[in-house]
């Protein structure tokens, strides 16, 4: 850290200004330290989650108030806390810096910069645990949060203010989907917060680089609590991220937060609880692990005052088992889930969204009319295709209708494949799906389906900008416009072939 001479002088002056204490300071004595937790005797009137300062310079947060002791988790690994050291009350709970000054920054859970852009210049700090907005303050979710990923926007739509869980095995593209959603918010006036919990530093560095390269860091705040950080930081990171996102929401902006991932967060809290000797429950998680996540995710929502906070928590499962403790908790808390399937991923279907197991409970109402018009029967067609596919694998002879459905199904599967970092606008999505709905893709070879569809969207945008803008403006496709689109599709087909 660079210290300016003027800083030094002002700090000295400020320090010398203070006279002697006018009252006794409440303190405690450290009796035991280990695994980043210490037990302190004293601090008799301390409150739950109060920040405590140690004489050596370290800080901690009170997590357990016992009859004669308090259990304090340390915020930093250094300087070490010693036995018999004095712990002082601060009479404050933990606060984090907030503000638009944080955009483009990478910070840790205790508000220190992890990037090389120097000190944070924020003017405000806010407590990380705040009152959750009540029913009266909230408004229904009726605006789409476009992910730019066709399969999600069409079949599992997300609304602004929604909490949509992204769940799947490791290496199924969970983070990629979340990052794609952040990248798609460019020029959409949505502020994003990405919280990395218990991951490798290399993974976080790669994500930051992706955001930077794609010009998304300027509207994003990254909070990192990697696996090497004290367990308390991993516990705090999502709350810190949420507080920062809430700041954006409270100033009337739309915010998007990604928690990557809450399974690691639950594991960190389990470690803390076991160190505090709280009784372990199912899978050794403490009894309040549900509340740990419910109070975090309940902070998302759309407010009548204007702002919204959309949460995309990520959960990692093992062997596609979504019935494990933490995944079921998160599924029940959130407004839907996007299940990413290892089998689909290995078959090359990416994003590997398992449409049957994925659901969006409130997003449908937020879908634009243009998209809703063209996706009505899409889910059904896909489900019928999956059923028939299993049947066809036995070598059974199928009737014409079934064969047609199989063909249509294979087309839509191809159509929903989408490379990472390639996003569609909702107009593109509506145009592409309308093409499918009107059977213009039926005679296109499977290899060419995606290419054909995206080129068609470009064609409409460049040759018929009026139509493109009309859909963008009205967020709907009128009867007249749909007729025109059919003619344009015919025209494009001639050009393309």
């Amino acid at each position: 850290m660079k210290i300016k001479s003027s800083d030094l002088v002002s700090i000295f002056e400020e320090t010398l200004k203070g006279g002697p204490q006018k009252s006794l300071q409440e303190v405690g004595i450290v009796l035991q330290v280990g695994d980043n937790v210490c037990r302190v005797h004293g601090l008799r009137d301390a409150i739950y989650q109060e920040v405590v300062e140690f004489e050596g310079g370290n800080k901690g947060i009170i997590f357990d108030l016992d009859e004669d002791f308090v259990s304090i988790f340390l915020l930093y690994n250094d300087p070490p806390v010693k036995e018999q050291e004095i712990a002082k009350r601060t009479y404050k709970t933990f606060k984090t810096p907030v503000g638009t000054e944080l955009l483009g920054r990478v910070i840790n859970a205790v508000g220190q910069p992890l990037d090389s852009l120097g000190e944070l210049r924020t003017k405000e700090v806010q407590p990380i645990e705040s009152t959750i907005p009540g029913v009266i303050e909230r408004s229904p979710i009726d605006e789409p949060m476009q992910t730019g990923v066709l399969v999600v926007d069409a079949l599992v739509p997300i609304g602004k203010g929604q909490r949509e869980l992204i769940i799947g095995n490791r290496n199924t593209g969970k983070t990629a989907l979340a990052i794609d959603t952040i990248l798609n918010q460019r020029n959409k006036n949505v502020f994003c917060v990405y919280v990395s919990i218990g991951q490798r530093q290399a993974s976080l560095a790669r994500i930051v680089q992706q955001l930077e390269v794609n010009d998304a860091l300027k509207y994003t705040v990254v909070i990192g609590a990697d696996a090497g950080d004290p367990v308390l930081n991993q516990y705090l990171a999502p709350y810190v991220g949420c507080t920062i996102a809430e700041y954006f929401r409270n100033i009337g902006k739309d915010a998007l937060i990604v928690y990557d991932n809450l399974t690691n967060h639950a594991v960190a809290y389990r470690e803390m609880s076991l160190l505090m000797r709280r009784p372990p429950g199912r899978e050794a998680f403490p009894g309040d692990v549900f509340y740990l996540h419910s109070r975090l995710l309940e902070r998302a929502g759309k407010l009548k005052s204007g702002g919204s906070l959309t949460a995309l928590p990520i959960a990692q499962v093992q062997r596609d088992d979504i019935t494990a403790y933490i995944p079921t908790n998160l599924i029940s808390i959130t407004d839907g889930q996007i299940f990413l399937d290892t089998k689909l991923f290995n078959e090359g279907i990416r994003p590997a969204v398992n449409v049957e197991l994925s659901v969006s409970r409130v997003g449908g109402a937020a879908q634009t009319k243009a998209i809703r018009r063209v996706t009505r029967a899409l889910g059904l067609e896909l489900a019928q295709y999956q059923d028939l596919l299993a049947f066809a694998q036995f070598g059974a002879e199928l009737d014409e209708i079934s064969q047609e459905r199989l063909k249509r199904g294979s087309i839509i599967v191809q159509l929903l494949k989408q490379p990472q970092y390639q996003h569609y606008s909702f107009v593109d999505e509506a145009l592409i799906l309308y093409l499918f709905k009107k059977h213009f893709l039926d005679d296109v070879s499977l290899k060419e389906v995606s290419n054909f569809a995206s080129k068609y969207a470009h064609y409409v945008q460049s040759v018929y900008p009026n139509i493109y803008e009309e859909i963008e403006r009205d967020k709907d496709m009128s009867d007249d416009l749909r007729e025109k689109l059919v003619n344009i599709a015919k025209e494009f087909k001639k050009v393309f072939s």
């Binding site: 850290m1 210290i3 800083d7 320090t15 006794l24 004595i29 310079g57 002791f69």
Partner: protein
């Protein structure tokens, strides 16, 4: 609080309930001295549980009580702990007795450290000052601590009052590390 601490706390509470009148301020400091020495080497007490030291056990307890001028009631406590194989709790029990004594008598023990030697009258002023701040009677031990550089520090198990150059420097150090005061 773990099981061991809880048990030690119960023993201490029972001891203070029974012999509160016999634990004087002087006795309080004797217990503190015994506690400080035994904390350094707790293993010595474990030897008392071995069968071959049966004969010497009484001698040890008598010498121990005499050395620290502890009341004879501690002999009963020590024997009971040896018999129930809980002698390992003795140091914790002493610590709890010190806290229990303060609770029982509503007196707060302060460790007063000054950078320079203080006169009796100065100490008396400090005592009255601390009594006023804590709103209760106090007992204290006074020592000289050159590390303070200049100033005074009074520490109890729950409260701290300090005004010293070393504390100011610590504050400056922390402010420089954190970037603000």
């Amino acid at each position: 609080m773990n099981g061991k601490d809880k048990l030690a706390g119960k023993y201490a509470q029972a001891f203070v309930n029974l012999y509160a009148e016999k634990i004087t301020e002087e006795q309080f400091f004797n217990i503190m001295q015994a506690h400080d020495i035994l904390s350094e080497d707790n293993d010595i007490l474990l030897l008392l549980e071995f069968p071959f030291v049966k004969e010497d056990k009484k001698k040890f307890i008598d010498k121990f009580l005499k050395k620290f001028s502890l009341i004879k009631e501690f002999s009963g406590l020590l024997n009971m702990l040896i018999d129930s194989h809980r002698i390992v709790l003795f140091v914790e029990i002493l610590e709890f007795i010190l806290w229990e004594f303060q609770d029982h008598t509503k007196k707060i023990y302060f460790d007063i450290a000054a950078s320079d030697e203080l006169s009796k009258s100065e100490i008396e002023i400090i005592k009255r000052f601390l009594m006023k701040l804590s709103n209760s009677d106090i007992i204290y031990k006074y020592s000289i601590d050159k590390k303070l550089i200049a100033g005074l520090r009074a520490l109890s198990s729950n409260f701290l009052w300090q005004y010293s150059v070393s504390a100011k420097l610590q504050k400056v150090k922390r402010a420089l590390l954190e970037g603000s005061l």
